[in-house]
């Protein structure tokens, strides 16, 4: 096979694969079934008519609720489990998290375990010998390599496991979010290494519940539900589809009924906050991408006549830090209610926050802050999640949208002189 052909061929191709597990009351029933030719078990479909492919240099994200068949898919791709029907083609060596540290024996030394593990992953004895120094160097275990593994911390163990796996020159690497390898420094190193692997034409299948990560790193994604490929395409579309899916589930399980039933709710209640909603312009849910125009809607119901009130919202991060707050008073908007009046106050803004989970608190009070006269304070009335980033990436808590230009020093000096 020439290089050109190789780059065109997908590394993994899953063609119309169905996997059914037959469940038996006892494993012996499986033998009875073969011998007596009568059914003794029942079928559970884990994956049905799934088709997908992963090209070299591509990161395919796999998302879906629990029991959607994500692990089954990984196992089928890894060749650990056999499809009931359909075919799986793979070019080259597939390895990854499922096999991290497989067969480690704590009584043997790090070096001995690395050698065995490498060969289990498909390396030849010769390859193992030549790559062992790199494996040891990457794992940063130094002197410890000669020690029995029982003296290792779990972080050290994972470091060695990952190092062997990534050095086994796979063509496809399977990752799931369990890839929490060692400390932050080593994690960065791992991700750097995975990126190099991708850049050099390696294919990656990445299973995760962390939709930020899916958006950030994947080139394509699939959404699985109950064994079916529900959506396939850009991470953006797939993640949004997933959010809709979850939203649908959540509506079923707990109908919206937070009529002033907020967890931390207090005040004189001359007027009440009826409900608080967060909706992104594109996502249509409370999970929005950074920079997306988002509307926070506060529905208010006045019990008595309340002149000159302020309606406000407060966004807090997961540590409870106030990130941003605003209210009608600060915007010089006059609000007053007659008894029984209902109204909806909408705050429209570009959600220029860093990815993460936030809460939205809403309040009705008089004056600029709720400290003077609090009418209704609804703590954590709603969740907000910022998922991924549209536009240029950034780090940190807020998106300051800088304009950047680069010029020679001389120009700046000249400008200063004149």
């Amino acid at each position: 096979m020439t290089m050109a052909e190789q780059s065109v061929l997908p590394t993994i191709r899953v063609c119309d694969v169905t996997k059914t597990y037959r469940l038996y009351r006892s494993p012996a029933d499986r033998l009875k079934e073969t011998i007596l030719r009568r059914p003794y078990g029942r079928d559970v479909v884990a994956l049905q008519h799934a088709s997908l492919s992963v090209a070299p240099g591509e990161i395919l994200g796999v998302v879906g609720p629990n029991g959607a068949g994500k692990t089954t898919l990984l196992k089928l791709i890894a060749g650990i489990s056999k499809p009931t029907s359909g075919a799986i083609e793979r070019h080259g060596r597939v390895t990854g998290v499922l096999a991290l540290g497989t067969g480690f024996n704590l009584d043997l030394t790090g070096t001995q375990n690395a050698i065995t593990n490498a060969q289990l992953l498909g390396m030849s004895a010769k390859e193992t010998q030549t790559r062992l120094p790199q494996i040891i160097e990457f794992a940063e275990l130094g002197e410890f390599m000669g020690e029995p593994m029982k003296s290792y911390s779990s972080g050290m163990l994972m470091r060695l496991a990952f190092s062997v796996a990534i050095h086994s020159e796979p063509t496809c690497f399977l990752i799931d979010e369990a890839l929490a390898v060692g400390d932050a420094h080593f994690q960065q190193k791992c991700f750097g290494r995975i990126r190099d692997f991708q850049a050099s034409g390696g294919a990656i299948v990445f299973v995760s519940h962390d939709l930020n990560a899916i958006r950030r790193v994947c080139s394509r994604a699939v959404l699985l539900r109950a064994g079916e490929v529900l959506e396939q395409g850009s991470p953006e579309t797939v993640v949004n589809a997933y959010y809709k899916l979850i939203a649908g589930y959540e509506n079923q399980s707990k109908p919206v009924s937070n009529k002033s039933g907020f967890s931390g709710s207090y005040g004189s209640l001359a007027a009440r906050i009826h409900s608080v909603d967060v909706v992104g312009e594109h996502s249509d849910t409370n999970a929005v991408s950074s920079g997306e125009v988002t509307t926070v809607t506060v529905a208010v119901e006045a019990q008595r006549e309340t002149p000159e009130v302020t309606i406000g919202i407060l966004i807090r991060d997961r540590f409870g830090q106030d990130v941003f707050g605003t209210n009608t008073h600060q915007h010089n908007l006059k609000v007053s209610f007659k008894a029984g009046e209902r109204c909806v106050c909408r705050f429209r803004m570009a959600m220029n926050l860093g990815p993460g989970r936030y809460t939205v608190t809403a309040a009705i009070h008089t004056g600029e802050t709720h400290l003077d006269d609090c009418i209704h304070w609804a703590d954590h009335a709603c969740d907000l999640e910022v998922v991924g980033i549209t536009g240029p990436r950034f780090s940190g808590l807020c998106r300051l949208s800088p304009e950047i230009d680069i010029r020679p020093w001389e120009e700046i000096n000249r400008a200063a002189k004149s």
């Binding site: 073969t34 056999k82 799986i88 597939v94 065995t116 060969q119 004895a125």
Partner: protein
Amino acid sequence: MPGWGRHITVSLLCELTKRELLERYAGSMLGGVWSFLRPALTMLVFVVVFSNIMGVTIPGYSSAYSYSVYLIAGLLPWTAFSTSIIRATTVLVARRDLLTTLPLPLLTLPAVVVLAESVALLPAILLFLAFLAVTGMAPTYSVWTLPVVFVLHQLFALGVGFLLAVLHVFLRDLKELTDVTVQMWFWLTPIAYVATILPQEVAQVVAFNPAYWFVRAYQDLFVFRIAPSTIDLALLAAVAGLTLGGACVVAKVLESDVRDLV
């Protein structure tokens, strides 16, 4: 199914076997010395008890050590054979960590068990040959057939062990059953006794015991110093080949379920 599973590679088999043997004595002070020490002590006990104390001999064979030699000739390979089978039976379930994370061919694990047991027997065989040489009973040129017989014998063990290992995934009782059956099999094989003491009817049954065909070949080699005939060897090869082939067919049929149920 194209691309499903991998082929067994010699290098992986060697590595896993080495590892298996390493693990056996890992952490013990004498380490690998035990692989010589243990059989040496066992053989010493036999020689002292049967030849020096009890003075048992084999009819038609003059040496004082005849019974000891006869017993060891059958017992050494039998130990490797039976231990291979017993350990192979449970290996797929015991090493489910490997099967559920790697596309490892099923045969690999039982093969490693059998290989390790075979290698573990070598020190004992060498000691035994040395003992025979010292006591002037060294086998003649016929000794060249010893490796052939031994390899076929262990392939037979692999066939039986592999078949049981696959079935054990579905039928966990097989562990106990195998233990007991192998013990009975031992007494149905003339190892500790000579075949001629058997009553006619039992002897007829024992004649169809394939394990005995192998054991007889060793006894012929070590005690009577005759090489097995080509026909005998062909028979042994057929037994080993058919058993292993049969086991592979069964494994092929059940493989997918083995991986999901293990």
